[in-house]
């Protein structure tokens, strides 16, 4: 006689534990996305801190690239002023891509200035910049992996139910922009 209520209580308890497990998993995935986003920010900051050093050295030699140097400076200022909020991710991605594009042009243009190319400080700065770019690429991969896990949790039943109940939404992936997808024609930059 008492067995049925007991079974019902146990089953309810198990279901609640299971739902709680799903809830924890969804929150963990959301937090991982935040963590991954922050890691991109850390790497971007390193890049933005490095850019003025490169531009200072480049300015001494690159008389004909003033507009390119000014563009990079302007974009960097805009990027640095953006707040560290995940809602700014699209704007951050766009600025990051534009800066990367301009820096690529600058790096190729360095080839036209042999004195600058062989300058020891410039060589070190470029190597450091390349390492930072590799770290940015790694951070983006980590972000995309976390965003993918969160997207799966938000879209696949039963975690989708829990996600919609607590207001957790999927985030956009870090994708290559149109300019990044275009193949680079070195002759556009080399004189």
């Amino acid at each position: 006689m008492f067995i049925l209520p007991i079974i019902l209580i146990v089953v309810t308890f198990v279901i609640l534990i299971w739902l709680y497990g799903i809830y924890v998993s969804v929150i963990q995935k959301r937090n991982k996305v935040q963590e991954a986003f922050s890691s991109i920010d850390v790497q971007l900051k390193k890049r933005y801190d490095l850019i003025p050093n490169i531009l200072t050295i480049a300015q001494k030699f690159m008389d004909h690239e003033r507009s390119l140097i000014e563009d990079v400076t302007k974009l960097r200022t805009q990027a640095v002023s953006l707040s560290n909020d995940i809602s700014n991710i699209d704007k951050k991605m766009q600025l990051s891509s534009e800066i990367a594009d301009k820096m690529k042009q600058l790096i190729v243009a360095v080839e036209n200035y042999p004195q600058l190319k062989s300058d020891a400080t410039m060589v070190t700065a470029m190597q450091t910049y390349n390492e930072v770019e590799e770290h940015i690429a790694a951070a983006r991969r980590f972000y995309n992996s976390a965003a993918n896990d969160l997207k799966n949790a938000v879209e696949i039943f039963p975690s989708s139910l829990v996600a919609s109940m607590v207001g957790v939404k999927a985030v956009s992936f870090f994708e290559a922009t149109e300019s990044e997808r275009k193949s680079v024609n070195a002759s556009d930059y080399l004189k």
Binding site: A36, S39, Q43, Q127, N130, E131, E134, H135, A137, A138, A139, R141, F142, S145
Partner: protein, 306 residues
């Protein structure tokens, strides 16, 4: 460039083998025959006594154990004589063979003197208690320092001894700078981390994920080190020496590659073959060369390697 380098090393090896190694080893041919005879005279009687006695002593307590001990002693005696002879030959010829490679030095490490627990600490190979080392090489290739250490790692003592690793570990100095720890291990069902400091992380390459698990304390750094091109190279890598598995650890500006071969490497001085048997030396040369080529294969001599 790489193929020219290989051709040059190969020519060097053949020249030195015929001009220096063969004349140096010819004097050992008689000793080889004597050692072979001694080894057989030591091993065969013990093994035969062990086998024959087993039919009579099996009914006694510890009778079979005694028979098995005699058989193992016989095999052990053969192995010891063979190993002593091999070591003698290596002392004579290894400096010459190593001179075919850029800056390569060979040493015979005394047992247990090389182990400071490094391979355990970096979770490159399973936990072990002792190491029995064999050959060690140190060199540099294209300005990249490396070492090769052949050993087997043993867990447990006495009757509970088991070999958890038999093969070689290649340590290469990396031109990439990093501070964390990342391990690439063979794929497992439950992704059980080898250390509480490391967590499992999943990468994009599906084929890579089927074969390997990655554990790290820094997800970004793991992806900085394990690029898509590294994953592809690991997938396609024709395993040096047909290694059963490989595992990789990144630690303290070095990459450690463990090749689990399950067999002895860099072996020369077979008692059964002529002391100047070319195939033995050629095999050893190819074994060393295929390891050195890992530096080219993974582009570890470049700052943007892997």
């Amino acid at each position: 460039m790489v193929e020219m380098s290989y051709a040059k090393m190969r020519n060097n090896f053949e020249e030195k083998y015929f001009n220096e190694v063969v004349p140096a080893l010819e004097v050992f041919e008689d000793e080889r025959k004597n050692s072979f005879t001694l080894a057989l005279l030591s091993a065969i009687p013990l093994i035969l006594i062990g086998i024959v006695s087993s039919f009579f002593v099996y009914k006694y307590k510890n009778g079979l154990k005694l028979s098995i001990t005699l058989i193992i002693l016989g095999i052990g005696a053969y192995h010891v004589i063979k190993k002593n002879f091999e070591n003698k030959l290596k002392e004579k010829v290894m400096p010459t063979i190593c001179s075919c490679f850029e800056n390569l030095i060979w040493t015979k490490i005394p047992p247990n003197s090389m182990d400071d627990g490094i391979y355990k600490r970096i979770n490159l190979i399973p936990d072990y208690n002792t190491i029995e080392s064999d050959d060690c090489f140190k060199g540099s290739y294209n300005d990249t320092g490396y070492s090769i250490e052949e050993f087997h790692a043993i867990r447990g003592y006495g009757k509970n001894r088991s070999i958890v690793f038999k093969g070689a570990v290649v340590t290469i100095k990396m031109h990439k700078s990093f501070s964390g720890r990342t391990v690439i291990a063979s794929n497992s069902l439950f992704h059980h981390s080898p250390s509480k400091d490391l967590h499992h992380t999943e990468l994009e390459d599906i084929e890579f994920e089927k074969r390997f698990d990655v554990y790290t304390d820094d997800d970004v750094e793991a992806r900085y080190l394990i690029t898509p091109s590294l994953m592809e190279r690991l997938n396609n890598m024709k395993l040096a020496f047909n290694a059963e598995t490989i595992s990789v650890a990144f630690n303290n500006a070095k990459i450690y590659i463990a090749l689990h071969t399950g067999k002895d490497l860099f072996s020369i001085g077979s008692l059964k073959k002529q002391v100047c048997d070319y195939e033995q030396f050629k095999t050893m040369f190819e074994e060393i060369y295929s390891i050195v080529r890992l530096i080219d294969y993974f582009k570890l001599d470049q700052k943007t390697g892997l």
